[in-house]
Point group: D2
Chain length 355, copies 4
């Protein structure tokens, strides 16, 4: 990180950026309330700190080895001097504020009627953002792959999603499964979701980042937190820092029945909050894979400090073409949203009272 | 499980028990508010349900394959007809009630002064039960193994623990690491703890069970929930059902830094509550291995429905001879206890209001 | 699977295929030495076995639930009646024969000189196929991403690879990291490799499959064998059965040093041979992440029955821009190839003698 | 480690040992072909290297942080100057030589007839050491726990084992499951086995070590190699270095079917050979949990350099009261032993030819 003088001029900043380019490196220029800081994108061993410190306007150079520099909390502290997370704004919704945000909707969009009905119900239950899958990443090629499996189906489903979002006044989020989906999804959706299985897919991350819309990145179920952040860095390095991190469960251990699909790693919430300024949300539905755990784990996630939840909802779980066993009803969603808001307020009030 | 008629006589019950013995099986006789149910201990394939159903006083026989029968929620429902968990009572403290219970104290007892000071502090902070390690299970034989590494040291430390518990009116809990410790620990402690690494140690489980005091069993970090319950069953099969289950983290996944020692599996809390009538508590200290996560994860655990927490406390973490990096102060403990009680009340009140 | 009569006509076969299409399903028509068998691609619950059995030419219908039908050993046995694996042929090399095949070369192509020198050396050491990475999937966006990070660099490196393969008479293999690389890689390479991190990337699998060249699919380090086969099925379902499976290590367990990057799961070799007719090779380089294990693990892999090995070679490991610590020299490669051939012959001769 | 002068006297050595005692530390005195080296047992931070270097007869002091010092290869190299492993001798059998050793027998001893028959068969097949379980560590308390579940049964079974070993001229190995079994097992068996689940049981390790017989320690399925060695160190620190390490599989990863009970980590073999002078053997039976993998994985283990194999054999797998699905016949065992010896010779000859 190249820390510029508070009084550094635009020319001095460009000078540093060009110098980096000449060394085969790219630059991330961040101007905050305190100063400008320039993050180096690429292999820092190609350049020397001593050299950089001789450039006009440079106050100090810190070469750091971490694979996530641009999303590092330390980085934003330098130019902004703020300790809070950097919230992501979508429509009228802010993710990363002190108020938790609720994303809900069907696992897969199955028909216009199904989507509209669920959208209305989740809105009524207090949801802020509407989710609905078009391109489903399934383990078996012989399972339902979402309406996105045909080109017309994809666009049709995306249009319904847009329409539902507009009608019920909710920004919409949906998954981009492959590189060829980026353009069409970015045309209709407000947040582009990258699923757990694609977390390591750097080409997809880069392409999605460049679409210029907020990105929700799910942690791979076999990834350490360091890897999770290293791949989020691919998005930031493509010029997009509107990133929402999502914990959705890691691989279970042990032989015998685990009773859940994954282990929900809620420690990831406070750890990520310390390491990065990006907001973290939790998806209890995929971690559990069973609906009876969604209520307690939603409350636990908010207790751990999550900035929001993403939950799958269906009015008739048995009829759902995908993941029916983890769907809850809009009534249960309302219970979760109200209870989580109360818990969040209880904790926040208590913290304020004590400090 | 052999379900007896409501009017079954003592003779009829003994008859069934003797019949089981003749087949090389043992019996767990549970008489509850509804009726007597007899759990079969051993390999059920050695006996036929048809034969058992001909015995006087027998209403119905259900041969089930699960490795945990005696601690199965279904089992207690049959004779007690209750849906709540079966609370474990120790001194004036009840674990498994609607109020969470807090166990706190030093990782290792280092001296009388250290223990007395911490005991006074955690009592002041609101703790219900005092913990303190005498026999420490360390990865390296070259690390401090606790005062229990000599025989006199062990008894001395246990006496201090008893004295501290009596002085500050808290039941005391400490770990039994090997079979040879059972007798001496049972002489002084109120709850016998079996550490994570000993979860699979069936000879220890059996011996501890027979000491006749409540047992806190920690889940092994490589064990599935089914295995956890299967080994808790070893305790119940030795005639002791005063078992407190404790989730303390499972192995992390992925390459690169995980930032925590283990992954705290809070889904285990509601899963265990469904599978068994035993109460479940959470140890956030060992899962995190770092003190800054103890507050959020304690709140999360209570949010998930845990019946209590076990937390390591020291007035001077740097001086601690064991696990200093995860020790919190009594001040932080007070924050946790008060906040968790508020969160628990918020959730409980909300649930009651809605149902 | 729809098993046709031995005498089934082309019309009858087309009739079944069309009937499947009318039910929203696709067909995989396999005509072997015994008969034609039609694999159903898609959700079999959309059609009834009873209905299919009424169609002309159909002998028997077996609806099976496994997520890998088309690559199932049982499937090929039905139409071919053979018990051996189905070998994949590339140039003059056959993978899946009784003779192991050796793929070797640099982790990343760095320059023409480097590639040509290594190509000559590995050919001299006995290698059959030349490997060389153009698009490198790195954990950190700040690390060297291969010459493929620019469009011209990519084509240049691929041309060198082709040239080296032609000059030293070896088919060439290289990784396709993103969907946008498929076309250009398929233009120059003989085998398209899908890296471990992309195993779950079904859109990439489908696109690569359609390029019509053999595909080497690496198992994800967090994937069970069932998942591995389920994603290989995506390739087969796109009409390409020239698939080479590659075991390259799964996530290590436990706390503390593991001493290797991954755990090489050699049991996967005989398990995969039982489940599928596809050949399995082993990559000891990435599993170990250290060169001193390559010799013993190569011998072990051949002992377990692997059809070949993929090994990274460099004449100057310290200079390598990627994964230097796991590079071996061509001299060591020669040792491995000769020793593995001897071990393979020893085992094969012994088996023949005993049966 | 305290490296003594070559000419150090017995008094000088005792002087150092007493000095360590005065600092609360124990000593491991190793006199080899080159010199005496004294390993420090306990927390090295309690003493200063500078102080130790002033003691008479001391040449050099190296304080090292590794949790396994006494079994470290570096340690034995210092006093013995040898690069080979330190073999463990039992009866006429040497484990850790260039010739692999084969331990075979039933999972559980069921009757005298069963044991005698299997003993005769495995001897005929070429086995060197007879195994047979008396105390079985089962997941379910309701499963058969071995004849050791009653005191008379235990001694009876152990006597049969001794008798079978004597009759067929094979040393015998059996598992010590709990601390109370040590004495009786040490009375009858030649090698005391510690099962995977007890690897972390330091009290058992210490007690078994003191019985003065060779110990076979199995790696826990959730343990890293560093942990495995750290717990082997507990045995060495109790004065017993006749330790045989045994790899028997680690936890599988991923969702869906794994097809094997554990993942056999054969990389552990060369890694352990590098880290310690102790011999390493492999148990393919428990790793696989299915008999059809025993042949290929045995060959692979020997290919990886293992010093021996432990394999479960039964003449009638269906009748076996424990782990029947992984039993092979004596005929299959003979195939394995002969083939493994040929492979071992092939590799050894090739190595010699090349060096």
């Amino acid at each position: 990180m190249i820390i510029m003088n508070k009084a550094a001029t635009t020319e001095e900043i460009s000078g540093v950026v060009n110098d980096l380019k000449n060394h085969g490196l790219a630059a991330d220029v961040s101007t905050g309330e305190i100063r400008t800081v320039i993050g180096i994108i690429g292999d820092e061993s190609l350049i020397s700190a001593t050299h950089l410190e001789t450039l006009p306007g440079v106050k100090e150079v810190r070469l750091i080895e971490t694979p996530y520099k641009l999303i590092n909390r330390e980085y934003s502290t330098l130019f902004d001097g703020k300790t809070e997370s950097r919230a992501v704004k979508v429509g009228g919704v802010t993710i990363g504020n002190c108020e938790p945000v609720f994303m809900a909707g069907p696992c897969a969009i199955e028909s216009k009627g199904q989507l509209m009905r669920i959208a209305e119900e989740v809105k009524g239950a207090g949801a802020d953002i509407l989710r609905g899958g078009v391109f489903k990443p399934r383990t078996s090629v012989h399972s339902f792959q979402g309406l996105g499996s045909s080109e017309e189906g994809a666009e049709q489903a995306l249009k319904w999603l847009r329409e539902a979002g507009d009608k019920f006044d909710m920004p919409v989020i949906t998954e981009v499964r492959g590189e060829s989906h980026v353009e069409i999804v970015a045309k209709y959706a407000d947040i582009l979701q990258i699923g757990s299985r694609n977390m390591y897919n750097q080409d997809l991350l880069t392409k999605v980042a460049r679409a210029g819309k907020p990105v929700l990145l799910k942690r791979h179920f076999g990834a350490s937190i360091e890897e999770f952040l290293s791949f989020a860095e691919y998005i930031a390095a493509s010029g997009n820092k509107d990133i929402i991190l999502c914990e959705r469960g890691v691989l279970p251990v042990g032989r015998g029945k685990s009773y859940t699909r994954y282990v929900l790693d809620l420690q990831a919430v406070p750890v990520l909050q310390k390491e990065t300024y990006l907001p973290t949300v939790v998806d209890p539905s995929h971690a559990a894979g069973r609906r009876d755990l969604i209520v307690p784990m939603s409350i636990a996630a908010i207790g751990a400090g999550a900035s929001g939840l993403e939950i799958e909802v269906h009015y008739n779980a048995k009829e759902a073409r995908c993941d029916g066993q983890q769907m809850i009803t809009a009534g249960e969603l309302r219970f979760i949203i109200e209870c989580c808001k109360k818990v969040n307020k209880t904790v926040r009030d208590f913290r304020e009272e004590k400090t």
